[in-house]
């Protein structure tokens, strides 16, 4: 009913979406979110994602449990990569399924908002000029007040 994967390997978002959807008996609505490394400045060589093994999995599981307590989901999926990712690479994906669209959308947004600020991942940008840790955005912390 809920699946959480933290991995260095790439994943096939389309195949994951199909596999997830097929397992959702009774769901009329499936929502997916895929996050992709963007080359904002035009000079990004890679994004390095550090995480906290052990805590990462349990923190995501807690967030997923919270989403299932708030919305009537038939299932939820979270995949999040770590390690070195190049521009265009998929960083993570979330999928949610419910009888109705509003629950599926809201749960997916909730998962994304909490993964941004409450799952122990840190992003470092590698450019030709050097490296720098991505700062947390006030707007990401503020997004949590919606829930």
């Amino acid at each position: 009913m809920a699946e959480v994967r933290v991995q260095a390997d790439s994943f096939d978002a389309g195949a994951e979406l199909n596999r997830f959807s097929e397992a959702q008996a009774g769901a009329g609505a499936v929502v997916s979110f895929t996050g992709v490394v963007r080359d904002v400045s035009g000079g990004l060589e890679a994004m390095e994602i550090e995480h906290y093994p052990g805590m990462t999995e349990s923190a995501i599981a807690t967030i997923v449990d919270e989403s299932k307590a708030r919305w009537p989901l038939t299932g939820a999926l979270v995949i999040h990569r770590h390690g070195r990712l190049e521009p265009g690479a998929q960083i993570m994906m979330v999928a949610t399924a419910s009888a109705h669209r509003v629950a599926a959308f809201e749960a997916a947004e909730f998962l994304m908002d909490y993964l941004k600020s409450r799952a122990p991942f840190w992003k470092k940008e590698v450019t030709r000029e050097g490296t720098g840790w991505v700062a947390a955005k006030d707007e990401d912390e503020a997004a949590l007040t919606r829930w």
Partner: protein, 83 residues
């Protein structure tokens, strides 16, 4: 008591190691931070502004006033940037 102290992201880089065992009698996270700051400049630099830091006790988010009794693993890191 001996606790495992973990550092992530720029905290790890400033202190120069990802984890270490620390012998301490600190009652709270804040007391442990004060002890670490007296060790060496790199610790003082990493912990100069604790409002820029987050702490997890035994892999759960906590705060700097939390008691350390019974805690085995303490992690310090900047605000998370997942997703």
């Amino acid at each position: 008591m001996t606790v495992n102290v973990l550092y992530f992201a720029w905290v790890r880089e400033r202190i120069g190691l990802p984890r270490e065992a620390v012998e301490t009698e600190a009652a709270t996270v804040s007391e442990l931070v004060e002890e670490l700051k007296t060790r060496e400049d790199r610790y003082a630099a990493a912990f100069a502004d604790v409002t820029a830091l987050r702490v997890a006790l035994d892999q759960e988010l906590s705060d700097f006033e939390a008691p350390l009794a019974g805690v085995r693993e303490i992690a310090f890191f900047p605000p998370m940037t997942g997703g």
